[in-house]
Amino acid sequence: MTPLLEARGVTRTLPGAVPVTLVRDITLAIGEGEFVAVTGPSGSGKSSLLYLLGLLDRPTEGRVLIEGQDTAGLSAGALARLRRERLGFVFQFHFLLPEFTALENLLLPMRRAGLEAEAALRARAEWLLERFGLADAMRKYPEQLSGGMRQRVAVARALANDPALVLADEPTGNLDSVNAAGMFDLFESLVSEHGRSIVVVTHDPHLAVRAGRQVRLVDGRIVEDTGAVPA
């Protein structure tokens, strides 16, 4: 079966007087319904890998394929469409749009994709926020929310268009253990009940083990992948 997302020999080097290699020779396939935890020390290239998998960055070497299709040849418009319809991305530092309420932050990508009528979008956005315990925060602006709440809104927003794959960069960084566990519960149900795939970067080994598969990065290389298909 074709994997949902695949990286083949991906290297990303920042050009410059002293070129910096962020990730090196990454080969990784994520199938449908897979829950992957990415771990590794700070600066090991976890975020950089997520940008590449989220089609926000392009590799200097190697290829990233989505559903078997090489993304190197895709136009900016086609990549944008994949990002809004197939992928959900959560930056490491929450990043909500400050001029919009929590609910509006969810509605923006939904309206842009325009996959359903406005009423249905609104109902789904409210349902998602409720699932994250944010029923009272819907009409609040980001500055009125705590760091943990913003982080949950950002994750809810990544799920807004019901993407096939969610890529979340340390989404539990600002959460207490109860909320962090709750978020992982939600991830688990998305994977097991809805067949979605999740790649989540985390520092917390207790949470990492809840994922079906662990990928460990050191110095931009994969040093361990519990789910690697033997070549």
Partner: protein
Amino acid sequence: MLPLPLSIALRHLSRRRRQTLVSVLGVALGVGFFIGISALMRGFQTYFVAQVIDVAPHVTIKDEYRTPREQPAVLAMAGGAVSVRGVKPREELRGIRDARGMLAWLEQQPGVAAAPGLRGSALLRYGARDVTATIAGIEPARERRVGNIEKDIIAGSLDDLRATANGIIVGIGLAERLGAARGDTITGTAPSGASLSFKIVGVVATGIASIDNGEAYVLLKVSQVLQDRPNVINAIRIRLDDVRQAEPLARRIEAAFGWRTESWEEANRNVLSLFVIQNAIMFSVVGAILLVAAFGIYSIISTVVHEKVRDIAILKSLGFTEGDIMRVFTIEGVAVGVAGALLGAVVGEGIIFALGQVRFEQAGGLIRGNQGFILARELWPYLAGGAFAILASAVAALIPARRAAALNPVEIVRGAA
């Protein structure tokens, strides 16, 4: 519901009110001044033109030629074998030959009224005072159809010229300088030496200094006697139903009869070309104001883009395209332009209202009955000012908007993280 880029743009603007307000005001001032200044300038210009069209003849046929006629010797030796220099104008009896025939022809043309006249100078004397004036000999019946002099007569009437032997109507300034009034008898002496006594039967005040201070009207026959030029007519003045026909008609007459024929446009060419310069200055000044406003928009959109780089990264990660991002920031600029144009119309109205309140104590008696600014109420400055403001805003916003759209989200996030 609003299109998405528009609603994002409006949200950005409404959440940063102060900045938005300042840039809107900048544009509004530019547009407002444009509207105000053009009302002022165009008001004066159209007033002037109306005044000229109202008072002066639309076309004047003179008893002279535009270019001196070729010397017979030159005509005989075509090709340049002969050159004649130092020719003095012949002492000919000046006057429009066959003026009556021309008048008859002119009066057959539709929408044309013509009146003959003999203009000459004379020294008017009243008691110890004397003033040199232009004496215009007119035929009241025809004059009435050509000029509006009658409505400017403040004492007496045109008919009194005929009713009184040697009646004369003098300009108000002239009357003042002579110290004479209606009913007084003055003497007029022409360069020919002939001298006549005139009875002032009327005083005219046109508001045009050259007429009020230097002209007097008598019957054509009287003028011919005074100038000792029996039956001579040296000017035919024409009034048209359609003033735009003045220049073409003047050219036709000159081509057909040869006499120098001037339309009102030609007669006032120096003033009309002054208007062109005046308008050019106006447009440059106001253009500069709007340019400054456009730079304001540019700097504001640039600042917004700079402050919004994280938002741009987020929007891109959410699948918004470069086109979406560009639209958001371009719309912000255009929205400022539109708001500025609308507010500018209000500011313009206000400026026009304020200008309308200005009263001059005494404008030297030049503009009679008008002690304030003459303001043109026209729609086009509102449309032109608004359109220019919106266009300038769009261009000013487009540059930073394109830069915003091209930003790489990952570079933004790496820089921020």
